[in-house]
Assembly symmetry: D2
Homo-oligomer: 139 residues x 4
C-alpha cells in the first residue's frame, strides 16, 4: 500500500496545523514499515542535570505515532490519543537530539495502535518505549 | 504519618529545582491522603481547537505524583519516572485550568506508585487518568 | 441513571455466557458508583509460595470492569478489551480471596474505561491496580 | 554475552518451579536477541466464539518475558512483575496456538523491561503487544 503522505508532506502538515511544534519536531523518514521523527533538543526540553524531560519524550512519541497514522490515512486532523503507555529505561545523553522509531501495529476502522522506540541520536540502546492508541474519526 | 513537606515546601522545592516549571504548575493541597496540583493553562499548552495537549496533561500528572512522593520522603531530587500509563477520556474545556488529584498507592523502598485523576477546573468528570511508577534512590 | 443489570443479573449472565468462569468469579455488589467482584482463590490460581498469579489478578480485573460496563449497558456480549495497564504493588496474602473494587471512568459511544483496585480480602492496602479500555459494539 | 540458560534449561526450570504451567507453555527458542514462547491452546484458554482469553495472552507474555530475563541472569526464582501494559489488537484465530516473540529492552540492576508481540501461529499480524517491568532481587 502506497503512503498517502511522505515525510515532506507530514512536515508541511505539522507546520500548518501544529505551528507551536515548529522547529521542535521533524519527520525524518517515512515508509510503509517505519517512521522516524526527531526532537531538536533545546533548553526548554531539559530537566536538572541536562536530561530530556519525560513530557518531551512523550511529545516526541505522540508526534511520531500520529504522523505514522496520517502517512497511511492522509491529513485527518481529528485523530485523538486515547491511551499511552511509556517505559523510561535509560537517561538520555546530554546534548543530543532524540529520535523516535515508530511502527504502526494496527490501523483499524476506529482504532489505531502504534509503538515508538526512542533513542539518543547515535546511541544503540533505547531510552524509552511508548505505545499509543488513537481513536480515528469516521472517514 | 506526618508529611515531610507541605504544599508550601513543595512549591518552594519546584521553584528552586525545576525553575522551568515556575508559573506553570503549583501544588494547591497536600495531606496524607490527597495531593492536588494545578496547571495554569496558557497558550503554550494548547492544541488546535483550544484543547490542552497530551504532553501538558502528562506533565501535570508527573508533577502531582512526584510531589506526592516528595511530601512523604522529603526533598530527594533523584526519584525518576520508570513507567507511565495514561488514559485520555474527555476533551478538556477550553479556557480552564487543569487540576490533578493524586493518591499514592505504594511507597516502597525502591519503587513508588501513584495515580492522578485530571479534571478541568470546576468539572466533575475526569479528562484523563494516569498512573506512574518511580524508582527511588537509596536513602 | 438506574443500572440495567444488578449483581444477580450479572452473575447469571456470567454463568450462561462464560461457563468456564463459574465458581471462580462472582459479582458481590453493583451500584451506580462501585462494583465489587470476588476471585475465589483456589490451587489453580497460585504461584510458588502461595501467592496469587498475575494472570489471575488480570482475569479478576477483567471480570470486574466488564461486568461494570454491562451493568450500565445491558447484556451485550461483544464488548472487547483493547488495552490494559496493571501495576502489581504488593504480594497477595496467602489463603485469602481477592476482591476488585471497580469504577467506570468513561462510558462513551465506542469506548469505555474502567479501573479496578484489587485487595486481599480483609486488607486495606491494594495488591494491584488495573485500568482497562473496552471497545463497545454499535448499539 | 552468552546466555546463562538456553531453551531446554528454561523449560526444565518451568517444569520444576511452575508445575501448574506444564503442558501449557513452552520456550521454543532463546538467543541473545529473541525468545519465542508457545501457548498450547486448549479448551481452558478459550472464550465464547473460540477466541483465546485475555488472561491467557497475559500469561503467555509473562512466561516469555520472565524466561527471557532468566536466560540472561540464571534461575533466579524471585523476579516479580511490577507493571504490565497490553494492547489487544486482533482476534486470535480459532484452533491455533499462540506464539510470543519477546525482546528484552533493559536489564538493569533492579529493574528489567521486556516486550512481547503475540501472534496466532502462522499469521503475520500480531494479535497483541505487551510490555512488562520486573523487579529483580539483589544478586
Amino acid at each position: 500500500m502506497a503512503l498517502k503522505m511522505d515525510a515532506a508532506a507530514l512536515n508541511a502538515f505539522l507546520g500548518t496545523d501544529f505551528p507551536q511544534l515548529t522547529g521542535q519536531f521533524a519527520v525524518e523518514h517515512a515508509d510503509e514499515e517505519l517512521l522516524i521523527a526527531r526532537l531538536h533538543v533545546s533548553e526548554s526540553h531539559l530537566r536538572p542535570g541536562g536530561t530530556v524531560s519525560g513530557p518531551s519524550m512523550f511529545a516526541l512519541a505522540d508526534v511520531a505515532i500520529y504522523t505514522a497514522i496520517l502517512s497511511n490515512i492522509g491529513p485527518v486532523g481529528l485523530a485523538v490519543t486515547t491511551n499511552a503507555s511509556i517505559d523510561f529505561m535509560r537517561k538520555p545523553e546530554a546534548g543530543r537530539d532524540l529520535l523516535a522509531h515508530c511502527r504502526l501495529l494496527k490501523l483499524g476502522r476506529v482504532l489505531a495502535v502504534g509503538e515508538a522506540m526512542i533513542f539518543s541520536d547515535g546511541q544503540e540502546k533505547p531510552v524509552a518505549r511508548c505505545s499509543m492508541t488513537y481513536s480515528i474519526p469516521p472517514r
